[in-house]
Amino acid sequence: MAITYTKKLLIERVQRHIANDFPSAEFPISSNEVLLYIDSAIASTFVGSVMGGGKITGSMATPEAYVVTAQLSSLVKNDVTGEWYATLPQTPMSLSLGFSITNAYFGDAADGVSQPIWLIKNKRVAYRDYMPKPNVVSGRVVKDVFYLKAKDNSPLLNLPVYVDMVTTRTTDVNETIAMPDDILDVVFQKVVTMCKDRMNMPKDLIKDDVGQGSSNVSKV
């Protein structure tokens, strides 16, 4: 079993890099703040990775390493719209549904996995009912809520929903990051840059072998 890479390790790496030693209690940036930087850096790196890959190959695809399968909480019925809904682990990335959420389905040990839930982009929701529909369960996402509806409006009570989606979040800092190793350095550099901005750290050029009179370090 390979060593797993967690956000805790990454936070510590950033703190050591900046403090140049074990971070003390007075380290000016908190772990939670570094965690926020890490989450946003992973997200922007992921979107860039998908877009960049699309430019090279001609078709966009989600790198597998970012994808996590999550079982959603029990479905609840919206009595107004008749839809069933559950909350996603996080708001999807700013790519279209097939890339931010790569699959969704029902599943249990007795029956196995269902046919996929068919996604409806929000821009198509308003007029979708004017057109014929396949005999499937369709889904749409509003913020972090996943709304589901069967063609025949049959109840979806107690059906376990699984979603394969890109997630930048983890339940705690000790959970393995869903990210390929080759992106680690990019994320690290981004986080360090953001920390430097935050701390407004001066970038001193220290040359030990230069005489005092020629040093660029102020004598004051």
């Binding site: 078709s59 695809a61 014929p132 396949p134």
Partner: protein, 245 residues
């Protein structure tokens, strides 16, 4: 025999071919299904429809209500003793006046006498000699040997029969609206036509490419295939001894 190749293929399978071929993402399933459904409609209206036959009762007002899944008819007739469908004559002169009224027949009060031969001013050559008497050349009862006359009122979804129609039911061969059974299906020989239609609508192909695939599929339809048996039969039926011109 591989079960992966069947006579019919569901639309979900065809759109999966298309999405896979073009490396599209999963969220295109729904949109591509809608477009594939349009391809199904287009192909069904032109070449893919397979007519079904049903027996329909004749109502008291000598009309026949068409089935709810009726799209267009191909044959209207009655059954003969050999199990063959003997078609009725389509007589567009039969009026659709009050044809959905239960008392239609009582409203068919003639304005003129439709037996032209009784008019002394009508020359005999306007009529047609049949069965020892002259019949009119148009209108009901013009002398052709058929078992009845009808006209289809598409707006009211009924077949209108002549007032003297003798039979209790008619056979209708018609193109029906496809019914979903899990998914809509289309003949496998037309799956490339549906894929070409999708490519055209996704701006990845052209109408010409779709048309070519459609013609190609049409030639492969089972009912369009020419068999040696049919050729031999055609030669036997059409062979005759004629005076050379």
């Amino acid at each position: 025999m591989s079960s992966d190749i069947q006579k019919y293929v569901p639309l979900k399978q065809v759109i999966s071919y298309f999405i896979d071929e073009n490396s599209l993402s999963w969220d295109e399933l729904d949109k591509s299904w809608v477009i594939a459904f349009r391809a199904l409609v287009e192909l069904n209206q032109s070449i893919a429809a397979e007519p079904i036959t049903t027996r329909l009762p004749v109502e008291g007002n000598k009309t026949v209500v068409l089935p709810s899944d009726y799209l267009s008819w191909s044959k209207i007739g009655v059954m003969d003793s050999n199990g063959q469908l003997s078609t009725l004559k389509v007589n567009t002169a039969i009026t659709t006046f009050k044809d959905n009224n239960p008392n239609r027949l009582s409203h068919l009060t003639p304005d003129i006498n439709n037996v032209l031969k009784s008019l002394s001013v009508v020359p005999f050559y306007y009529n047609y000699g049949y069965n020892g008497s002259y019949q009119t050349l148009y209108g009901a009862g013009d002398g052709l040997v058929q078992f009845g006359e009808c006209v289809v009122d598409e707006t009211n979804n009924i077949i209108v029969l002549e007032p003297e129609f003798k039979y209790d039911s008619v056979l209708l061969e018609y193109v029906s609206s496809p019914q979903e059974n899990g998914d809509y299906e289309i003949q496998t020989v037309l799956q490339e036509a549906v894929i070409a239609f999708l490519a055209w609508k996704y701006k990845l192909g052209s109408r010409d490419a779709f048309y070519a695939a459609k013609i190609d599929g049409r030639r492969s339809l089972p009912k369009k295939k020419v068999t040696l048996q049919e050729i031999a039969q055609a030669i036997r039926q059409d062979n005759g001894m004629f005076i050379k011109a």
